[in-house]
Symmetry: C2
Subunit: 345 residues, 2 copies
């Protein structure tokens, strides 16, 4: 509806059932608030003081092997622990229960200076292969019912080490964001015997308004209900419940689209684009999940430039997520960008 | 349960139905990530370049009156607009609808150099009186069904002007965070004919574990399900659905507890403590709301010091909120602090 390009409106996130408030006219607002420093920091390939580089000692005292392909280990400061006694607590209106799990760190590359867009497609395939292995192995454990793979990139996204890496938090219960999607995937499957996300993709492939990358097996788009200014979604064309179901061809296509997407991100403001990325896939609770269609989301905070981000604060915390540019405007920007990284031109 | 002081566990937020993951053992984690600059900035009482100071011109061209008590006006860059045509859009899996509303700015004081803890109790009563007036006037409009009063304090909370001020976003629909609470207040009321928050307060007043301030009419505590490290909640002892129901005595008591709470916040790290604060109260949708018990929440980002905050990123965005210190540890810190502001000692 053309009406919506200039006027405040709400859009429904069909995966969570939540709404986002869109205020397209608000980009005209001047910004006098906080700016971030934009770092064009050059990093060495090996940093002797980095606890993720090959051969270095970590804070827990362990020594990293001299790894040359992606390497994972149990986080030395895990938020979740194994072998926690199963306790349920209830006292009037207070309710709590113990939680157990495993937190892992996944080094994407031995090379301290890289980020995903600067890695080769083959090296990204290796990361995907390690994610697959972790999903299978952790998922096979009786005590693990959900596996959250994610990356916090950039210090403004709470990342405390620039060495290219992500994390995996695997746990007994199914976390709340995943439960929302689980419910809606299931309701749609029960009613239509089709994938909710698959049907959404069909619609997007028809309009092409929000799609900015596509190959044989994957699509990258700005979802209609995007919250973060340049929020994006990578979806496999065929329904795959989890990474474990990807074959070699699909892994190759997935790696290619990750490389292109993150390259375009860096090209938006010619900066190493910060984000949190996460993969939502079928819970590993022993049930079959024909309703699940795995996908990877990127939530980047930058709004206007390399130094001005979108703050999800007062109104957003107490009322509703809110965004200033439309999903279509963000998609148009992403469509127009080069697949060659700005530092390599 | 003592078990829970050292071990990861989940706690239920009875107001929203959501869980928070608590990892008390994780405070031992060293921090090498981003630090914020701590500003001990001295501000003048009047800043000629501030668009919120009395007598100054604003960006929209209007001139502020020479106000001496709290002053509100319609935001020059409102995210919500009035007189938006009522449009519903639905195309396959895409759903959107227009939204209308009013955004206002509330200057707490003409004095550019102040913050709530440094204002007198009487001056804070004046702010509450203006909030009351706005709630009543906006709420009386047929097109307004919800009024969100909030304050973003500090540039790390997206505040773009240090002049003491908050905002009000009033709108047609009831935002999602409020809907969650609305549902649970209602379910509890229908079942017990009592206030959910009132009953929770009775329990907290008995244990006193998480209460750090109390007067005749109000209590301030760290809720059992707190997400942010020093998250707090101000609750009236008697069920009041909204600010409009407060009498002069209650307003005085509310102002006193706001002053003390924000003073203790500043005293934690001897810094002007950033936060987003918000008031949740009964919707103004023309229905009676005997189930509603208004409350004010503070979500402050700082965790370890004036410069190290908690990042709600990857895991928190994709899975579940997570915190490192327990609510009881935060309450103990807040209990031990002085009610005299550190700059006045
Ligand atoms: O309205 P302001 O103060 O310019 O903006 C601030 O508060 C708003 C409401 O929470 C947010 O949407 C903005 O991201 C934030 O920077
Ligand atoms: O585990 P890290 O990288 O030290 O920590 C980072 O990611 C975690 C998971 O999203 C967050 O809980 C932390 O707040 C953030 O700083």
């Amino acid at each position: 509806d053309p009406e919506f390009n200039d006027n405040p409106h709400r859009r429904l996130n069909i995966l969570t059932g939540e709404w986002v408030l869109v205020s397209p006219h608000r980009t005209k607002r001047p910004w006098q608030g906080k700016t971030e420093k934009s770092e064009v920091e050059q990093r060495p390939q090996y940093d002797p003081s980095c606890y993720l580089c090959p051969g270095n000692e970590r804070m827990g005292g362990s020594v990293n092997p001299d790894y040359s392909t992606p390497f994972s280990f149990t986080n030395d400061f895990s938020a979740l622990l194994q072998n926690v006694e199963d306790v349920k607590f209830s006292d009037g209106l207070l309710k709590a229960e113990s939680e157990s799990g495993i937190c892992k760190v996944v080094c994407f590359s031995p090379n301290h200076s890289l980020t995903l867009p600067l890695m080769t497609v083959g090296a990204i395939v290796d990361v995907i292969t390690l994610w697959q292995k972790e999903y299978r192995e952790l998922g096979a454990m009786k005590s693990i019912n959900h596996i959250q793979i994610f990356e916090n990139k950039g210090d403004i996204m709470g990342c405390s080490n620039p060495h290219p890496h992500g994390q995996i938090w695997a746990q007994r219960t199914i976390p709340q964001e995943v439960q929302k999607k689980d419910m809606r995937f299931k309701a749609y499957w029960d009613k239509n015997h089709r994938s909710l996300l698959g049907d959404y993709l069909v619609q997007e492939l028809e309009s092409r308004e929000r799609i900015f990358l596509e190959n044989e097996h994957f699509v990258a788009l700005v979802p209609y209900w995007a919250v973060w200014p340049y929020e994006t979604l990578i979806v496999p064309k065929r329904k795959r419940a989890h990474l474990g179901e990807l074959n070699e061809d699909e892994k190759q296509a997935y790696a290619e689209i990750i490389k292109k997407l993150t390259t375009r991100y860096d090209n938006i403001f010619e900066t190493s684009f910060p984000y949190s990325a996460g993969i939502h896939q079928a819970p590993t609770n022993g049930k079959k999940h024909p309703e699940w269609h795995f996908h990877m989301s990127f939530y980047p905070p930058l709004l206007r430039s390399a130094t001005v981000k979108k703050f999800m604060v007062g109104y957003e915390m107490f009322a509703n997520p809110q965004r200033d540019i439309t999903a279509e405007q963000a998609a148009d920007t992403l469509k127009g960008l080069s697949d060659v990284h700005y530092t390599l031109r």
